[in-house]
């Protein structure tokens, strides 16, 4: 009976949160679309193909441009255009990138003008690999490597930051605490592009310990996996050091708060060992606020690291986004922003739900 009530409440809560998420995504998409539309003069598709349209005599380019503009609703006034674009987004038509294309793995059978198959000397039909410029395909194909890197970095980040945060809280104002605080501050204050360049200069160029760029070296005689790891040491170092500071401080603050709680005094008064007090009684309770951090992890995991990937020439989604920005590939940048917003919204939703699951004090109030 009671369990049933809890489940009903849970479902109500989830539905309410989902509705809110949809509302937020609606707002986000308005902002992104508005940004693209406030430009005076030619819109971005026309601007992109402007030169080609001047040279084109057959009218094919003009047709293609019109088709593209149709997808983004650029042919209509802004309000109608937004509805058209949003409709296409919901339908999964996110538009085509101007500069990227990926092979879909499928092949197209070549036929000549009369519809007969084109054969090679041995009588096999010639095929052509189909490539896709659909931004969703590109995001999917590029985010794998970014995800692997981010996953390793996140695991390392948590593995290092949480123990350090706890140590610095239990030995407050000690040497460890001060060095952790200053290190955390350094990590927060370092710009990734400077830190990356510095690491490259020292460890790659000067000392030659790590390769300069890319993911693998075709001339290397190392096994491919080891070679990849060798290439990823520097980028992951950048990601970990830059993100560790915030988490460390967060853990420390929470731990300090918990250590001042009455039940910790009780635990100590009972005569429990300090180890038990800290790791059994205090640490478990610091995990609750850490759940909120989950919200920030999700976009980080799938969204790539723009600057770091660019500096180390890793062909992930971050580098793609950077390239898209510098080369004016607005469709891809729009899709990338929207993709990240969706991830953020899902992350927030998940962390809210997790919070309710982890912390029994949180009461789910659904419906009204």
């Amino acid at each position: 009976m009671r369990l049933g009530l809890i489940i009903v409440n849970m479902i109500k809560y989830i539905i309410k949160r989902l509705a809110l998420s949809v509302l937020i995504l609606f707002g986000v998409s308005i902002i992104i679309y508005g940004l693209v539309r406030i430009k005076p003069g030619l819109d971005f598709v026309q601007a992109k193909y402007y030169a080609q349209m001047q040279l084109d005599e057959t009218g094919q380019v003009a047709q293609m441009v019109e088709r593209q503009r149709e997808i983004y609703g650029l042919t209509s006034p802004i309000f109608k255009g937004y509805l058209k674009w949003a409709g296409n987004i919901v339908k999964g038509q996110w538009g085509d990138s101007f500069i990227f294309s990926v092979s879909t793995g499928e092949v197209e059978l070549l036929v000549d003008a009369e519809g007969n198959p084109v054969l090679d000397a041995e009588g096999n039909q010639l095929t052509k690999p189909i490539s896709s410029s659909n931004v969703l395909d590109i995001i999917a194909s590029k985010s794998t490597i970014s995800f692997i890197i981010a996953l390793i970095a996140t695991i390392l980040q948590f593995g290092i930051a949480i123990p350090l945060g706890i140590t610095s809280a239990t030995k407050q104002y000690g040497v460890v605490d001060y060095s952790v605080t200053v290190l955390a501050m350094m990590g927060i204050s370092l710009p990734s592009f400077f830190f990356g360049a510095l690491l490259l200069r020292i460890f790659s160029i000067q000392l030659g310990w790590f390769p300069y760029a890319g993911l693998s070296n075709p001339n290397s005689n190392l096994p491919i996996l080891i070679d990849n790891i060798h290439h990823l040491v520097l980028p992951i170092t950048v990601l970990v050091i830059l993100s560790i500071g915030g988490l460390m401080r967060y853990t420390r603050t929470n731990m300090l708060e918990v250590l001042n709680a009455d039940y910790i005094r009780t635990a100590r008064a009972k005569g429990l060992s300090e180890h038990k007090v800290i790791y059994k009684h205090a640490f478990r309770n610091t995990l609750i606020p850490l759940v909120t951090i989950l919200a920030g992890i999700l976009p980080g995991l799938f969204g790539g690291a723009m600057i770091t990937e660019t500096i180390f020439s890793i062909d992930g989604i971050g580098k793609a986004a950077y390239k898209a920005v510098t080369m004016g590939d607005i469709p891809f940048v729009m899709a990338y922003n929207l993709f990240l917003s969706v991830l953020t919204v899902i992350g927030t939703l998940m962390s809210d739900l997790m919070y309710a699951v982890v912390d029994p004090r949180v009461k789910l109030v659904g419906g009204k």
């Binding site: 927060i188 204050s189 360049a197 920005v325």
Partner: protein
């Protein structure tokens, strides 16, 4: 809210110090105690922390460097210094000739490599550090130290203007939301949620890249950059202010203000805002570091402070890509100082912000 603090010398006058007591007439506690205003108390606590003093000194030094430095420097922001270095280029050539091998008596192909060494010629860029140019000159022949000063000017000024606008906007919406509650609160907070869900750097990049395409002249583009940073940055402060206002609204003195029939405007501006100020100041100081980081990242990407103007991020961006490899490897004097400046400025703001937070509210000490 005044606080009584006994000065050290008053300990001498305490009754248990018999000898002193006999010589001097008794001084009452209220006469000898000094009243310290909350502001002074905050300052005292602020200066007690070493890190905040370090932060403050660094910041003052950076300000002097960025605003007084250019007045002293003999070079301009976009002035070719005319400093040059002598360079000899070495061009390898390879030829293959048929030659008789004397041992075997056969004709063999032999490869000769020779180097064509040019006469030394002048290069007006990337000169090494010298007395005239303590950090050398960059790839355009501009003085690096002077560019560094102007870059600091842009970063610091832009940071302050942006944070000021953010505070104004955030305070306006935050206090409206917290004070009125109800549907006003709902609407404003949902908008804040939307802004919070936007990805930080990518959306800034989208906006900056779009504006890049407008073809605005460089001087004006800096203002657009400020506008973008403000537009995407105010939501955090609005949320903070709302939370504080919600708490303050329930306090007794607000009930008293209500009872005396003060106008809403007066209640918000005279009674609520001053009490939110400490948290806003802390948040703004910490936020300044973030804005400087965002600005320099955008400049690094080439869509921030536009070219003829100096910016720290732009100076580091000279190391990126294949053509930047030479600068990355051989000319640390061009890009390392800029990075150090960014780190120092951001660190200083973080230290000061942390110090202020501890000083305003010692209970919140982290």
């Amino acid at each position: 809210m005044s606080t009584l603090v006994q000065e050290n010398k008053d300990l001498i006058n305490l009754p248990n110090n018999q000898e002193q007591d006999k010589q001097e007439p008794e001084v009452s506690l209220s006469d000898s105690a000094k009243v310290i205003s909350p502001g002074r108390l905050v300052l005292r606590r602020f200066f007690r922390s070493k890190l905040s003093i370090i932060g403050l000194i660094t910041l003052l030094a950076m300000f002097a460097f960025a605003f007084i430095g250019p007045l002293i420097s003999p070079w301009g922001e976009v002035q070719m210094t005319g400093d040059y270095k002598w360079v000899t280029s070495i061009l390898p050539h390879q030829i293959v000739v048929q030659e008789l091998n004397e041992e075997t008596g056969l004709m063999e192909e032999v490869t000769y490599v020779f180097y064509e060494v040019s006469d030394p010629y002048k290069v007006y860029a990337k000169t090494p550090p010298s007395w005239d140019h303590p950090l050398g000159t960059d790839q355009y022949g501009y003085d690096v130290l002077t560019r560094l000063m102007y870059g600091g000017r842009v970063s610091l000024l832009l940071g302050f203007i942006v944070i000021f606008s953010e505070v104004i906007i955030g305070m306006f919406f935050g206090s409206l939301s917290g004070y009125f509650g109800g549907w006003v609160d709902q609407v404003i907070m949902r908008v804040v949620d939307i802004f919070n869900c936007l990805p930080g750097l990518p959306i800034l990049m989208l906006a900056a890249a779009l504006i890049d395409g407008w073809g605005i002249e460089p001087r004006v583009r800096i203002y657009y950059l400020m506008g973008i940073l403000t537009f995407f940055g105010w939501s955090g402060i609005a949320r903070l202010v709302r939370g504080q206002v919600l708490g303050i609204r329930e306090l007794e003195y607000m009930v008293a203000a209500e009872a005396t029939g003060l106008s809403t405007k007066r209640k918000i501006f005279k009674h609520i805002i001053p009490n939110v100020m400490p948290q806003i100041i802390v948040q703004a100081t910490l936020g300044l570091g973030g804005i400087i980081l965002s600005e320099s990242t955008l400049s690094y990407l080439g869509i921030g402070v536009p070219f003829p103007y100096a910016a720290w991020g732009t100076m580091i961006s000279s190391t990126s890509g294949a053509e930047g490899r030479d600068i990355l490897q051989n000319y640390p004097n061009i890009w390392v100082p800029a990075g150090v400046c960014i780190v120092m400025a951001v660190l200083a703001f973080n230290f000061i912000g942390d110090g202020l937070r501890d000083a305003f509210d010692p209970k919140m000490r982290r």
